[in-house]
Point group: none
Chain length 347, copies 4
């Protein structure tokens, strides 16, 4: 499938306070590459993304037991893309694929960060990644050890920037505490979930960090696992991830995120549909454009599983400017989940 004629021009944003630019829409490998999707489909998704101007491809050592990195690396070689034109990321924390004993193949110890990076690069077939993330905080490893180890990766040329994923605000601030104290490089980006239904972390908890450390966000789950695409409008379709709940990983994932009032959420999402209709865009494009409206978001990582979905999602880039302050207010009113403004001096 070729790109639709009306595909908007990709925009690029600086990754927080860094000098690196990432495409506003990026493609993620979770649950897909090397996992639920056959390789050929993954390749066609990556090609559609690249052809749309996407330069940032996101992965993790823990995705599909390491297979995700292998397939991603294969695609880069298959299409002979130039390394300089790409922003490749991976994440370290769950490295069971790298050994038989979980003891030192997980977490953020110096040993796992260095060994995990090496194993990831081998799977990717690359000399370095642009971005390396701490996939979760590790409360058993001293922060100083973790900060030093990520700087080791940068100093040895295996990564260019480091960041975090799903860390608490105070943990990011603490990482910078040690970075500053030791004259080292602090984490420049965080990868949280962010979408119309999950706003607290990005809009409230991290609020001071954008100013204090110049934090950039590469957000995942912009469509809330598809809920915001509107596809559950009338129930759960047979081929959706929810229907695959027998799968241990997804089941566990949903268990962790907790139960929520499913019906209420679907109802809210359905109320957003007329707004999308009025703008002449799809529900998923409204959801993505809304995420990109937040200036602290450097990139929204999509998990598209077909070229069509990639193009549809990239279409959201052209819809960002359609979201006027009035429409943003209307969305807030429907959702009722806008975090209160930060208390200032004279509040």
């Amino acid at each position: 499938m070729t790109a639709p004629a009306d595909l908007p021009k990709m925009t690029y944003r600086f990754l927080g306070r860094s000098g690196l630019q990432v495409s506003a829409i990026s493609l993620g490998g979770w649950l897909t590459y090397g996992g639920y999707t056959e390789n050929e489909k993954t390749f066609s998704c990556m090609k559609a993304a690249y052809d749309s101007g996407v330069n940032f491809f996101d992965c993790a050592e823990g995705y599909a037991g390491g297979k995700s990195e292998e397939v991603m690396g294969e695609a880069i070689r298959k299409y002979s893309w130039k390394r300089n034109d790409l922003v490749i990321s991976t994440k370290l924390y769950w490295g069971n694929a790298n050994g038989d004993n979980p003891v030192n193949n997980n977490g953020l110890s110096r040993k796992h960060i260095i060994e995990g990076m090496s194993a990831s690069l081998k799977r990717l077939g690359l000399d370095y990644v642009d971005l390396i993330y701490a996939h979760r905080p590790d409360r058993h490893t001293p922060m100083e050890e973790t900060v030093r180890a990520f700087n080791h990766l940068i100093n040895t040329g295996h990564a260019l920037y480091w960041g975090t994923s799903e860390w608490n605000a105070d943990e990011i601030a603490t990482a910078w505490r040690f970075a500053d104290k030791l004259g080292l490089i602090g984490p420049v980006m965080e990868q949280p979930a962010y979408n119309l239904l999950q706003r607290e972390k990005v809009e409230k908890e991290y609020a001071h960090l954008y100013r204090e450390v110049g934090l950039g966000l590469t957000v995942f789950s912009p469509l809330r696992q598809g809920i915001l695409s509107g596809k559950y409008r009338d129930g759960v379709p047979a081929d959706s991830r929810f229907a695959q709940e027998q799968d241990a990983f997804i089941a566990g994932y949903w268990k962790r995120t907790g139960k929520y009032a499913w019906d209420g959420i679907i109802k809210q999402v359905n109320q957003l549909q007329p707004i999308a209709d009025d703008l002449g865009i799809k529900m998923s494009q409204l959801a993505l454009a809304w995420v990109l409206k937040n200036p602290n978001v450097s990139s929204a990582i999509i998990g598209a599983t077909s070229p069509e979905q990639v193009y549809e999602n990239v279409g959201a880039v052209g819809a960002v400017d359609k979201l006027t302050p009035e429409i943003m207010d209307k969305i807030d009113e429907i959702l009722g989940n806008k975090p209160p403004a930060i208390v200032a001096r004279f509040d």
Copy 2:
């Protein structure tokens, strides 16, 4: 009134990672000294506290427009207590009492911190306080300026330790970031609300800080404005603060904390009563002992308005050991508000 014969011996705890010891129960000046309580009553409360072994008396420039500090200082002179035996605190942020123009008499600029300290010491009639708090975060002043200014107070001998009140965890971590970077002293204590009904901040948000910076807590509102004393069990008595809702300050205070399901809370509190009865202690003592059970709490600040209340509250010190793991679990079950444990490496 003299101290009851069975008054337990006061215990002292280190203020976080510092070498300073504060009494487990301390007396606060909010809304009382210089405000809702006549001076003589304040004096007798302070004396009862001192006689019970309380060494820590808490105040703020913003309490009762500065009068709270004046009355507290008067009491110290009246009873000729030795300065060394006391741990005196005050807090800076709302310093309208110090000038006519609010512009530079509020917040945490270097100007207000230095001028506010000077005005507070004058009102207290003291050369220095032991603890100086930033009464709130000031998001308009750079953290570095604030950290430097509190260190200036310490360097000039006007305060011995500095801390925060109602700051976010990431703001405390950021203050330490600048303190470490500049070789300065970081905030050693935080003063949040903490009680059976308000647990999130102390048990979840600050969780990493106890280890990371050795944070100590001097918690206020251990009885949730009297709700946990059981006195609202059958409604709102005429002489309680709730009945004074015509008062603009209280009304405003409750408005800020938001509406909550009053009935549900009273019901929960009433369910705790049998536990107190079984232990042979008062409901307020159960609530205070529960607060002191948390090893991260250095001191619980009570707002007693009569010597009787002081003695009753101090009685809680003797009840801490009665709270067995089984009783603590039972309380958690009744309240259903225990924050989930922090995710560790293999969760």
Copy 3:
């Protein structure tokens, strides 16, 4: 004279990245207090300013041989203004008033900074100033010595913030270099001339510093020595400063600033008059409001010599919002002196 009924409410701005707030309009002592103006007139100007909400009063050890500081201090005592409500500044560099031998009574050596500060405080009758400026760069004293000496003033409580006046951008950056290297406080504000006719330094030379060091500006000469009040429209009036050219100081001052095409400037200023007329404001108010339109300006220092002039100038605060982008463009077109935008990456 009492304040006119339609005097706008004063606005306050943070001084660069600091937590201190200064009034948008401030009163300066150059050539006036203790100099060309009798004391009573100075007092009435200061009172008119204070009554208008002005909180920032600017002075220098070199103004009127130290007399300017004396008269300013006298006014503060005369009106019993509260110290906390005021932002008082002075500047060190030309301290001939402090001794007989110019050798060590000028410049920015540690000796002169410490001795000059002491002499200024004595003349002002104050324990500290809020702002202390290096009145010029001193290319004979190492930057490190100067940075350390100004920090000494802050550490000893004689000043709260330090800054510069008429320094080059690279000198300010170099001061921060030593401040950072030594963990000291850098200069937070600069005092340049800034007005419709002198834009280069503020709009071009300092451009990066607003971001790099959070520089705030307290600008002098917002009316270009009265030229922008329109009073030279038809020639030089007998009572103006230009007519006093026999005076050595003024003559020297004009000599230093160089010759310029007097006629051309007057012509340009006269072209601005219709814009002021259309907005229903005075020419001087247009000029001041234009200065305040620049967000990097924390305060515009006026040199008014009568209460009427003070009120007229304060009136400019209410005119800032009247300067629409269209009007700003029109002004740029008339003057033709807008510095080109800073070259960015893809220019």
Copy 4:
């Protein structure tokens, strides 16, 4: 062509405060190697320079789309010059040759600095360069990121010294601020245009930096694109660069530098001719000797396109001592563009 018998002995100068010595005359690759000049001619120019004692050869990733580096590297191999005897430089900023997407192949992000260096070394066929320049300031990348990335190049052995080209004085000072703060290496040299007609940046703007950071200059355009060779004395010859104005790059270059009074400049240059004649040197030699007379100039980069020109230019080395104070004054008088001396303490 062999070197003329009377060719003066090359002199070598320390590169600013560093311990590296560069030849007073050096050869640059802009617009020539790999571009307007055939390779064989480039080789013969480089050989003539090398034979004249030139040890410093200057290049950039942006010259002729990377071809300039390739041809320069080829020459080094062709003549089997010893690596230790050469000072090789290149510059990073415009790296479009390195990829298809301009987004991360330009500017001074960590990504481009590291990837650009790698691509340049590959084109040059070298393991390291002696000097690596930031070809322009990048106002979108934080200075700290840029300073760290250039240090990374030095730490990994890909470059020995780093510097800047056409940066503002305050940007160089800011780079040193971060270098000092982090204990890193600051930029030791700057590459500006400097010649009889363009003096402001070198003689005024950078004035403090020679002392503050020990800045060395490798100046380009010493003959002002040939204007100072006197070849436009009677108009624009057909084979000159000006005649090639149809070329988009040159046209764009002149557009950026702005229009100037061509006739006036030619007139001034013609007035300098008698001085050259009196000294028995060529006009171009006078211009080059004048540049070298400035002790802050470490090397003047010539853009000769024939061995004859190289020898002629090297001849200027022998003329430096002929420029007496009287002649220097006479030149200043003719040009009228000497920046005023820096204001010192008692000015």
